[in-house]
């Protein structure tokens, strides 16, 4: 049976992990490679690196991190942040990423999805969608949540699928950071209306939230960041809990 995936996400700035990492036994708490290895030991199904480096010059550091990670762990690696062209896709994939996540750049230029899918295959094109409720509607927001595009999130997800996206990484800006649980409403609405996998993100605060998102929506995977980074839960704990709920995990 296909397993539900548990995915830790690391924010990287200038080659270092930002947001508090709270593991013991790591030689370098800021090194994304060390942290990725730890999550691999915890049986994570994939790793996501989100590069939030603002300056272009420092952006090269992420390629080095991808290369070093790909030599150490043998699970899928998704890299996002600042990808604007198919050349960016190529650089990240050649460094050793398996999938590339695009967000604002896909909204600004929809053909990036289809051009990347044509060149490198849909399997590596992840369209990240940040969603916010505006007057009872689900709007797509970009630029890190700062700009409301007015686009309907469900329609945008459908369009991304048609353009050749292989997967949707769906983050609820309303739920993100609340620890009140994944946004079941929007995750369910989108995951039942498209035929490509949806990764649910934002709002997870405890074990029960993982079970809830898999029981009440069609999400294929759940992503969390600070929950894992702060050591509140390990990936292994999440999986053991899901197993006890008869949810298929690796």
């Amino acid at each position: 049976m296909l397993a539900k995936r548990i995915i830790p996400c690391l924010d990287i700035d200038g080659g270092r992990v930002v947001k508090g990492i709270n593991f013991i036994n790591l030689t370098d708490m800021g090194d994304p490679v060390e942290i990725a290895k730890e999550y691999n030991r915890q049986n994570a199904d994939e790793i996501v690196f989100l590069d939030i480096t603002a300056t272009h010059e420092k952006r090269r550091t992420v390629y080095d991190i991808i290369e070093r990670t790909a030599k150490e762990i043998f699970i899928p690696l998704t890299v996002g942040g600042g990808i604007r062209t198919t050349d960016d896709f190529r650089d990240v994939l050649l460094a050793g990423a398996d999938k590339v996540s695009i967000n604002s750049s896909a909204v600004n230029d929809k053909t990036l999805i289809s051009r990347a899918a044509d060149k490198f295959g849909s399997q590596c094109v992840v369209v990240a969608i940040d969603v916010k409720r505006v007057n009872g509607e689900f709007h797509v927001v970009i630029n890190g949540g700062r700009k409301d595009t007015g686009l309907d999130a469900i329609n945008w997800a459908k369009e991304a699928e048609q353009l050749g996206a292989g997967e949707i990484l769906l983050t609820s800006m309303d739920a993100d950071g609340t620890k009140n649980g994944f946004d079941i409403e929007i995750t369910s609405a989108i995951s039942t209306k498209i035929n490509i996998p949806v990764i649910a993100s934002g709002g997870c605060g405890c074990l029960e939230h993982f079970a809830q998102v898999f029981e009440e929506t069609e999400a294929s995977a759940a992503l969390a960041a600070s929950l894992f980074h702060k050591g509140e839960l390990t990936v292994a704990q999440v999986k053991n809990y899901l197993k006890s709920k008869n949810i298929s995990v690796r």
Binding site: M1, L2, A3, R5, N40, D45, A70, K71, F74, I75, P76, L93, L94, G96, D98, F120, G121, S122, Q123, C124, G166, E167, N195, I196, P197, E218, S220, A221, R250
Partner: protein
């Protein structure tokens, strides 16, 4: 030395990284002479079937692929496995390498997401040297939208996704994995390790 055939496909380095981890020397190449000296060959692949076959033909790799597949252990991964078969119906109809009888067609199951993406468990069907020491129901990483259809005698393992999907196939010394062993954690590395151990000329 393992030769990794370079026909312009992606994920070449992933395969090489995994072989490095296993201490197996490898070379990514499309040079016929180098491929001739290799002990075994891996045909990787992501992307579309027709594009891959066109690239193989335009780089004049067909003769060395067919020769290698007779002489030494030969493994196709993901699209590389699908290429081993006679024909694919991905975006039209394309001739494959025809090293194993069978064809490739779109997966279509009601209510299941396509691509078949993620970790799925292996059900063993017929014995394979690749599965030596591997536990049944071990999880491996898949990402594909097309599947192989062939005689069950060539199918060593399947994964359940609406119906049994061929996951490991073989004929003589030709092997294929629909999943990515280089992205399948410890289980994937163990399967690659078993491939490296295989001596050629299995009949």
């Amino acid at each position: 030395m393992t030769g990794i055939i370079d026909y312009g496909a992606g994920n070449l380095h992933s395969v090489q990284n995994a072989l490095n981890k296993l201490g197996e020397p490898s070379q990514i190449t499309n040079n016929e002479q180098i491929l001739n000296t290799c002990d075994r060959i891996i045909l990787p692949g992501v992307g579309a079937f027709g594009d891959a076959m066109n690239a193989i033909k335009s780089k004049r790799l067909l003769p060395i692929i067919k020769k290698s597949a007779i002489e030494k252990p030969f493994m196709g991964i993901c699209l590389g496995m699908q290429l081993l078969f006679e024909k694919s119906y991905e975006f039209g109809e394309h001739e494959g390498l025809a090293l194993i009888p069978g064809h490739v067609e779109k997966m279509q199951f009601d209510g299941l997401k396509i691509p078949h993406m993620g970790w799925n468990s292996l059900n063993f069907e017929t014995p394979s040297p690749l599965l030596e020491g591997i536990q049944e129901n071990s999880y491996v990483y898949f990402v594909h939208s097309y599947k192989v259809v062939c005689d069950k005698k060539y199918i060593n393992a399947t994964a359940e996704y609406g119906q049994p999907v061929p996951a490991i196939v073989s004929k003589n010394n030709i092997f294929g994995t629909q999943f990515h062993p280089e992205k399948s954690g410890e289980t994937g590395l163990a399967i690659l390790k078993e491939f490296i151990k295989i001596k050629g000329d299995i009949k």
